[in-house]
């Protein structure tokens, strides 16, 4: 698949955007009095640097064709699951169920994606794994908090593995007139979801006054939410030429991606608050853990996948 003109333009646009972000950060840093650094700017600097690394890895995976993307998202799932289950109390009787989750469920789900076996990919986790996990925990013989424990493991697999696997699953869709170009769908989804996060942050920092969910996520404001999703959707509409959609469809799908992304962030924040932590991990400098970066994609990917599958294949 590779480097067709539209894909190169998209990636080039992202690189230009990051270059602009680096430039702005450098200007902001140089305006600080010598020897001091505002923590917001320090964090911005770390975030932009991490973005360069993430974009490099993501583009490299995209340009290797299907398998690279499948492997990248399998690793993403693995690390997200690791962060999620680290925060989630389980009991010794669940140990083997967890072992299955990491070393059998994650690889198998992505093998199904790589084989483009839609029927098995869609039901493997919600049917077979969701029955297997409670069975394996029950065999462990410990009844304390049983429902809670199994629900936590199931939900971890749902969010970190099942939802995330819908991103590379976009590569298996047969869209008339778009064959061989599905990598651009992956790029479109990830770009709009992440851009929406960034724009919500920027709009919120500049104009945010009215908090949406002060308990769950104090940084989310109505101004950030509306400004972010509308501007990201406008960008999505403007990128229609890289997708199988017309401008209106691209706008509508972008709106779905951004709104689901917002709620993904909200739900994952609720889980963090419940566990009493600020971030899921510290793997990505300035951003927190893998889960902090992909929370919006988790919720947007399955809905985007099924809308495209239903209406465009």
């Amino acid at each position: 698949m590779l480097a067709d003109r539209a894909t190169l333009l998209l990636v080039g646009g992202i690189v230009a955007l990051l270059a602009l972000a680096s430039l702005i950060t450098a200007v902001l840093k140089s305006r600080q009095p010598a020897g001091t650094l505002n923590p917001v700017i320090a964090n911005l600097d770390a975030r932009v640097r991490a973005w360069w690394v993430m974009v490099a890895i993501f583009s490299a995976a995209l340009f290797t064709g299907g398998l690279g993307s499948v492997i990248l998202f399998a690793l993403t799932s693995f690390f997200a699951l690791r962060e999620f289950l680290t925060l989630t109390p389980t009991r010794p009787a669940d140990h083997r169920a967890l072992f299955w989750a990491f070393f059998v469920v994650v690889p198998l789900q992505y093998v199904l994606v790589a084989q483009r076996w839609y029927g098995a990919f869609a039901i493997f986790i919600p049917v077979y794994v969701f029955l297997f996990i409670p069975i394996r925990c029950a065999v462990g013989g410990d009844a304390r908090h049983f429902l809670e424990r199994t629900a936590k493991i199931q939900w971890a697999l749902m969010v970190c593995v099942y939802c995330v696997s819908h991103v590379p699953a976009l590569l298996m869709l047969d869209i008339p007139g778009f064959s061989g170009a599905n990598a651009r769908l992956v790029l479109f989804l990830v770009l709009i979801a992440q851009l929406s996060d960034v724009l919500q942050y920027v709009w919120g920092k500049l104009f945010g006054r009215h908090k949406i969910a002060p308990v769950l996520s104090p940084s989310k404001t109505w101004e950030g939410f509306l400004g972010g999703i509308l501007s990201a959707s406008a960008v999505g509409a403007a990128l229609w030429w890289a997708t199988p959609f017309n401008p209106w469809q691209a706008a509508a799908l972008s709106l779905v991606i951004t709104i689901m992304g917002f709620f993904g962030g909200l739900v994952m924040s609720a889980i963090k608050r419940d566990r009493g932590v600020k971030d899921y991990g510290n793997l990505i400098e300035g951003h927190g853990g893998v889960m902090d970066r992909i929370d919006s994609i988790c919720f947007a990917a399955p809905v985007f996948f099924h809308l495209v599958r239903y209406y465009f294949t």
Partner: protein, 201 residues
């Protein structure tokens, strides 16, 4: 050998999700690191997280009865980790466990000890055995550094051999001062509480 062991340390850190401690987090002189014990991975993780200078001089203190069984354990204890093996069962004057520990400290090594004596079955910190006190009394100026290891009992619990790749954490406390006037039981409780204090609430 040193680059191979650096590589092993990096692999262990990746596997357990811990970061290398900054060099200024620990004293640079020979120390006694004491930690809670809940998993076979405890020593390896702590070893891997130490800054290189401390890692090169550190030696774990381990039970001779367990680590001299079979060629693999003997090779790991002897060649890879240079363990200070001590007697846990038939302790006589000739096999006084204190002697090899003090000799190692005097030769410039740091020690890792698990004062609970054995792995905790559920991750709760067990009462300390008196070895730490004997060691502190024998070398009162050696810093006693408490290190709390979290989650390793979930990664590789006692009684299982399949690890689950969760993220471990490691918290370092301020070195304990030894006071010869303090009663042994008071010292041991104080040392245990120093570890408990490092536990996440």
């Amino acid at each position: 050998m040193s680059s191979a062991s650096d590589l092993l340390a990096a692999a262990l850190r990746l596997g357990c999700g811990v970061r290398q401690l900054p060099a200024d987090a620990l004293p640079t002189v020979p120390c006694v690191f004491f930690a809670n014990h809940s998993s076979h991975l405890d020593f390896a993780t702590l070893w891997a997280a130490l800054p290189p200078a401390q890692r090169r001089r550190v030696r774990p203190v381990a039970g001779r009865d367990y680590w001299e069984k079979g060629p693999l354990r003997r090779w790991l204890a002897g060649r890879v980790f240079r363990a200070v093996l001590i007697e846990r069962q038939k302790v006589t004057v000739a096999t006084n466990p204190l002697t090899p520990m003090v000799d190692a400290l005097d030769a410039g090594a740091s020690l890792i000890v698990f004062p609970e004596g054995t792995r905790s079955p559920d991750g709760q910190i067990q009462p300390f055995k008196s070895g730490l006190h004997h060691l502190a009394r024998a070398r009162p100026t050696t810093p006693l550094v408490p290190i709390f290891l979290d989650n390793l009992n979930r990664i590789l619990p006692k009684g299982d051999f399949l690890p689950v790749p969760l993220v471990a954490t490691l918290a370092v406390g301020a070195p304990l001062a030894f006071d010869p006037a303090e009663a042994k039981t008071d010292f041991l409780v104080r040392a245990q509480l120093a570890l408990v204090a490092l536990q996440r609430p």
